[in-house]
């Protein structure tokens, strides 16, 4: 694993009215790693994602990507640099085939630049990306209308939208939530493959057991603060983390 720090968050703060959504959170992300971010509901995980990707402006603190400050940039500029994210709520084009859903990222300036100004065969590229992420081409899944796809494929479609950007970092916001056990089992190798392809990943998750199969390092958040950081077993053994998860068998979830 390369030691070079790709993304660095320092002392980031955000309050909504009186609610301190994120307080003094630090985060370091070396290139090539998969980092897990966990915590109970309302602990500020999604706000953290919004702060990194520019959807929410921080009150203080800064985010560095490749040692360049990206705080204050609009979301599309940050995405343009290669920091992409998925959304918890997916709203695909219900009336269009799955592969047409990738038209938006494939038209982005980032992709245009990477192809030397030409966009080429977008449909072909889209189908290749979808196949890579588990849309079986032989069964014509990429050609199916998005509205007819099960949730597992919609989550993949959301991931594919990021992947189409040729990103350096993907931030997955609860990509396992709502999926069945078997859907998750097929999803895990997909994410492992992304890591092998050199993409750095942050995973926000509630499904701890599945998450721990993927990550070596997790950050636990509670009430907007970073509660603990370290490898999954150590972190989950800490009493304050167990307490945050209502004092129950945290690892069992």
């Amino acid at each position: 694993m390369s030691a070079e720090v790709l993304l660095q968050v320092t002392k980031i703060n955000k309050s909504f009215g009186g609610v301190k959504a994120v307080q003094d959170v630090d985060l370091e992300l070396p290139g090539g790693e998969i980092l897990g971010v966990i915590g109970p509901n309302g602990s500020g995980k999604t706000t953290l994602v919004n702060l990194i990707t520019g959807f929410v402006k921080p009150d203080s603190g800064e985010v560095l990507f490749k040692n360049k400050k990206i705080t204050g940039l609009p979301p599309h500029r940050i995405a343009d640099l290669g920091v992409t994210r998925t959304f918890q709520i997916m709203r695909p084009y219900h009336s269009l085939p799955a592969f047409k859903n990738l038209i938006v990222p494939l038209n982005s300036p980032r992709i245009r630049r990477s192809r030397g100004g030409k966009l080429g065969d977008k449909d072909g590229v889209a189908i290749d990306i979808l196949e890579e992420i588990g849309f079986e081409r032989d069964a014509y899944v990429p050609y199916k209308i998005a509205a007819s796809l099960p949730l597992g494929y919609l989550k993949r479609l959301e991931l594919a939208r990021c992947l189409a950007m040729k990103p350096e970092i993907i931030i997955c916001d609860e990509i396992f939530s709502g999926l069945s056990m078997s859907e998750i089992t097929t999803m895990i190798p997909v994410i492992e493959k992304l890591q092998m392809d050199g993409i750095t990943i942050i995973m926000i998750e509630h499904r701890l057991r599945e998450l721990f199969r993927l990550v070596n390092r997790v950050i636990v958040m509670n009430f907007g603060e970073k509660l603990a950081e370290g490898n999954p077993e150590e972190v989950m053994a800490k009493p304050e983390v167990r307490e945050a998860y209502l004092g129950t068998e945290a690892g069992q979830c």
């Binding site: 959807f55 992409t84 959304f87 709203r91 990222p105 038209n107 939208r161």
Partner: protein, 341 residues
């Protein structure tokens, strides 16, 4: 199943796509004349219909047709912005006014021919309209509607207060088109071209990105695309269509005045869009071509005109809320029959 058996049971209308509709999607449409004519007949009906109408009308109604054409362009641009970009733009009067004033002033001061000033006014007016609307692009829904509705009113007061561009009197005795046939075919040609160009545009990638901005702008931002850039382009395109109408109107009337910023230009397109069918692009054009002459025909009723006009609109909203074009398309593409639930 007889009628007696169906009474008292719940029924619903089942709709199925006609086989030929499916066969005409994609390249298959080229397989036979039957498939091709299935696609071509409605389109030719519209094109030929528009081109032949002027031959059947007398002078008065030909004039009405010209004005209806301008409203059709406005309705088209309203539908495009509302349904495909999510901007409910009540600035139709601003498009007409800015296009109209640029064309009229150029013609008045420079004496250029309409075939030069209309293109200049179309592009120039669209640039002005886009710049004016630019700060409001981050607003959505009703907020954008209100602000865009203010601009024509504002401009009228600026013109009156500063007494520029002819002030309240306007500028009279402008050049006009050589004859009534040019009058009509210029606007009908523009309507036909804009409808088909717009329909094409919304199915291209550009149109898909616009629709996705309307549905889910966050995902578009997260895909590295600036939504402001795309919204600006969309407003520019819609303004082009509207400003052409305005420039044309200056020449049709041979007169230029603050009534080109009249509220009618902002409001009637909405009625036309509701009547014709939101999101169909052709529908609003048909709506405008029906509503404008209807409003003329009702002139005989004096003050009752507005009441009748409103009743017809309300009737449409209550009984056919999806609009004329959506109903026609459904009848054309699908079988319908009642079935028991």
């Amino acid at each position: 199943m007889t009628n007696e058996q169906l009474i008292g049971k719940e029924r619903r209308k089942e709709r199925l796509d006609r086989g030929i509709k499916v066969r005409t999607e994609g390249l298959y449409s080229l397989t036979s004349w039957r498939e091709m004519s299935y696609l071509l007949v409605p389109r030719m009906f519209l094109i030929l219909g528009l081109l032949l109408i002027p031959l059947l009308l007398d002078m008065y109604w030909q004039r009405v047709l010209c004005v209806a054409g301008v409203y059709a362009l406005l309705a088209l641009s309203f539908d495009f912005l509302a349904e495909f970009v999510g901007l409910v733009c009540l600035g139709g009067a601003f498009f007409i006014g800015s296009g109209g004033y640029i064309a009229g002033l150029l013609s008045h001061s420079m004496g250029w021919s309409p075939f030069l000033t209309i293109p200049i006014a179309t592009v120039g007016g669209a640039i002005v309209s886009t710049i004016v609307l630019l700060p409001c692009l981050r607003l959505r829904g009703i907020y954008f509607a209100i602000i865009s509705f203010m601009f024509p009113l504002l401009t009228v007061y600026i013109i009156i207060a500063l007494n520029v561009f002819g002030g309240t009197e306007g500028i009279t005795a402008l050049a006009t088109f050589p004859n009534v046939w040019v009058d009509q075919y210029v606007i009908l040609g523009a309507v036909i071209i804009s409808v088909f160009a717009m329909r094409r545009l919304v199915t291209e990638d550009f149109g898909l990105i616009l629709r996705s901005i309307k549905d889910n702008d966050q995902a578009v931002k997260a895909s590295g695309i600036s939504i402001t850039v795309y919204k600006t382009k969309a407003v520019f395109i819609a303004a082009l269509v509207g400003c052409f109408g305005g420039a044309y109107l200056s020449y049709l009337y041979g007169w230029l005045g603050i009534s080109q910023f009249a509220m009618d230009f902002s409001i009637l397109p909405i009625a036309a869009t509701v009547m014709g069918g939101m999101g169909t692009l052709v529908g609003p054009v048909l709506g405008a071509l029906i509503l404008t002459p209807m409003s003329e025909a009702l002139r005989g009723f004096g003050q009752l005109r507005v009441v009748l006009y409103c009743l017809i609109l309300i009737g449409f909203i209550v009984y056919k809320p999806e609009g004329l074009m959506n109903v026609l398309q459904r009848k054309y593409h699908q079988f319908e029959h009642w079935e028991e639930v």
